[in-house]
Symmetry: C2
Subunit: 412 residues, 2 copies
């Protein structure tokens, strides 16, 4: 029988009533003839409680013990979901990560999946079991210890199972009903997308649209797993949610698929850096070592032999960046006159695979912002994305204006 993977997030399994509701959706797919693999998160709030205890003991904790503790929430949900399904007379059983076994490397708390043997679960399907409920977010290391995949790792678990079992689709049930052209809280004209390409979803995810864990989308793209994002709080239908799929499956689309934004970006400028070959490496090497995630980078030649170097990074990494750069300066590796951190900025991005084949998108974006009197501080582009840093106070205005300009309130 064809296999379907269904993943339920924490709010979708927050209590026994919600687990029953989720189980009913599973029952619908079983009735259609699917063998279903259900991936569950911990009941909403449970993982935070566990993480709180661990941090209460020590902020510098052994990641192996952290993983052993925080993985327990998913085990509880898996067992409860199996019991609810059995109560509905659907043959089901639960699997914890080590029972599958979902094998990972030993990078505790951020482990990477290495292997998912299918024989164990497939044998049960062959015996008549209809639903395998698997605890998300967790695996087992080569040393036999419990690992976790990082927060939101249940999405990645789901996609990995879909890839391993050649599932027809991987449905991610969450508390939003799909992927939108932009954040509906910012633009009332935001429209749910029926389909979106993996690459676009990746850009949107990394730009702050927190529907799916970025890694899960990367994995889906690599193994061409069709992902559907949908709400567990709406009536089910085959048209529900948004399908994240290969570009080839999307017949028509707007040039721009979505407008994303992030308030968590800061702009850092090194003023009057002594310019020489290797200066970029001398600046960004120490930042990388300090764990600063640099996003955009711009270099301006201000005067002969001197340059201004501007970059953006997450707001909460500004202090770390300042420390790394002043240490590099003190050590004589770089030389700059001033370091200016501007945390009062926002990043706004237009994303769309249509940009590859259509020119003029950047020009339209710049003109739209200019018409609104919004000054662009930094520009960065990729094949399917244009991002700008602007004053934070203009962020909502920019998102709304761009959403209109690219006609995102209308279907392609």
């Amino acid at each position: 029988m064809p296999v379907l993977v269904m993943k339920f997030g924490g709010t979708s399994v927050a209590n026994i009533d919600r687990i029953r509701r989720a189980a009913k959706r599973v029952g619908v797919e079983v009735a259609k003839g699917y063998d279903v693999i259900v991936i569950v998160s911990a009941m909403a709030g449970k993982t935070n409680e566990l993480v709180g205890w661990v941090n209460d003991i020590s902020p510098l904790h052994d990641a192996r013990e952290y993983d052993a503790v925080v993985s327990s929430g998913e085990n509880v949900t898996a067992g409860l979901m199996a019991l609810v399904l059995q109560d509905m007379e659907i043959p089901a059983r639960s699997w914890q990560g080590w029972q599958v076994p979902l094998r990972t490397n030993s990078a505790h708390s951020a482990a990477r999946i290495e292997d998912i043997p299918t024989d164990n679960i497939s044998a049960k399907f062959a015996e008549g079991m209809r639903v395998a409920v698997v605890a998300g977010f967790q695996g087992v290391s080569p040393e036999g210890r419990i690992t976790t995949l990082g927060r939101g790792g249940s999405d990645t678990t789901a996609v990995a199972f879909a890839a391993a079992f050649g599932a027809e689709r991987c449905d991610i049930y969450t508390d939003v009903d799909g992927v939108y052209t932009t954040d509906p809280r910012i633009s009332a004209k935001a429209r749910k997308l029926d389909r979106i390409a993996f690459e676009e979803m990746l850009e949107l995810a990394s730009l702050g649209a927190k529907v799916l864990q970025t890694r899960s989308v990367e994995l889906a793209m690599r193994y061409n797993v069709r992902l559907r994002v949908l709400s567990s709080f709406e009536e089910p239908s085959d048209e529900a949610g948004t399908l994240v799929c290969a570009e080839e499956e999307i017949m028509e689309s707007n040039v721009v698929s979505g407008i994303a934004y992030s308030r968590e970006e800061a702009k850092m400028t090194l003023v009057s850096v002594a310019d020489r070959p290797g200066i970029a490496a001398a600046i960004f090497g120490p930042l990388a070592e300090a764990g600063v995630n640099v996003d955009m980078i711009i270099q301006n030649i201000a005067e002969a032999g001197r340059t201004d170097m501007t970059f953006s990074c997450p707001t909460d990494q500004v202090k770390r960046a300042e420390k790394a750069l002043s240490e590099a300066k003190a050590a004589g590796h770089i030389n700059y006159r001033d370091l200016i951190a501007d945390t009062d900025v926002a990043k706004v991005s237009a994303v769309g695979i249509g940009m590859r084949s259509q020119s003029g998108v950047a020009a339209k974006m710049f003109k739209t912002l200019s018409d609104e009197g919004i000054n662009i501080k930094v520009i960065a582009t990729s094949e399917i994305k244009i991002s700008v840093l602007i004053d934070r106070k203009y962020m909502e205005l920019a998102v709304q204006a761009l959403h209109d300009a690219f006609g995102l309130d209308k279907a392609a």
Copy 2:
């Protein structure tokens, strides 16, 4: 290095502060030079929460899923305890049941321990680890599924580890400071025992003194594991608590070591049973099949060819007993005139290994009760125990009178 097993119950690990307090006790034993195996229960209340969810889903649940769910509380405590110990700079790590692996049979929710390989943990001790924190109450079946040992199973886990590792002692930390000559809530003269023999402890446990799980005492007796019961809320000392040990380790003792009682016992009388060979089997066979735990049994010849048969069983099994007996009557297997259930009784018992060598204990017990005007309804004796059923309203009076009569307020 010598091995010590320390077990902490739910109230002793109810929150992070209490876990820290328990860890300090572990630190004291580590400082003395012990390699310590710590067995932990779930944080107080957690297992009940999990059991509640399972019962909410279905009273008739799959015991395999029940075990997978309810075992998670111990895993959390094990990880947290390991983290606290590490924070105290004591080399420690946690083990879940399947990681040891603690192998059990497949009797889910009431599994029996079959094997505890020591190589895994011993190797870590050899590498310098000082504390192995093991999640209590759980194991893994031959099918690779999680099993639990029944409520209170962490005591049994602790004793089994002590036996497997040849531990010098197994310390059970709980919320009482030892085993008493009787319930201090009933007699202000109750005195903590320094030592008690395994056999006596077994009788007391089965009679309702709920300090230790009966199975854990049986196991300790079989493998001669010295068990110490002590409070985690008192200052530690080598003299703290009560040592449960072999008779040979107890130099002097009173003839009677303790007075136990139970309110949960009912008296059932089958009036005018047609007497014939095999009638006892015809009565007690169906009761056993119905899962009724019959304790005392008395047969009185009332008239020629007829007999009255009286037995006691837990109060909450009375309905089940009545059903089984009336079905046996309807099927013609037995014949009786009336079935009288008296739930207004209590069982009071005197327990002591000294009874083996000293006569007159029963006579003294009966006279003491008679002097107080208390009528005895049923008597049952074993080698080291005399039990009587009396009207429940006299229970406290009987306990106090017997405690005085056998001089239990004074040390031997």
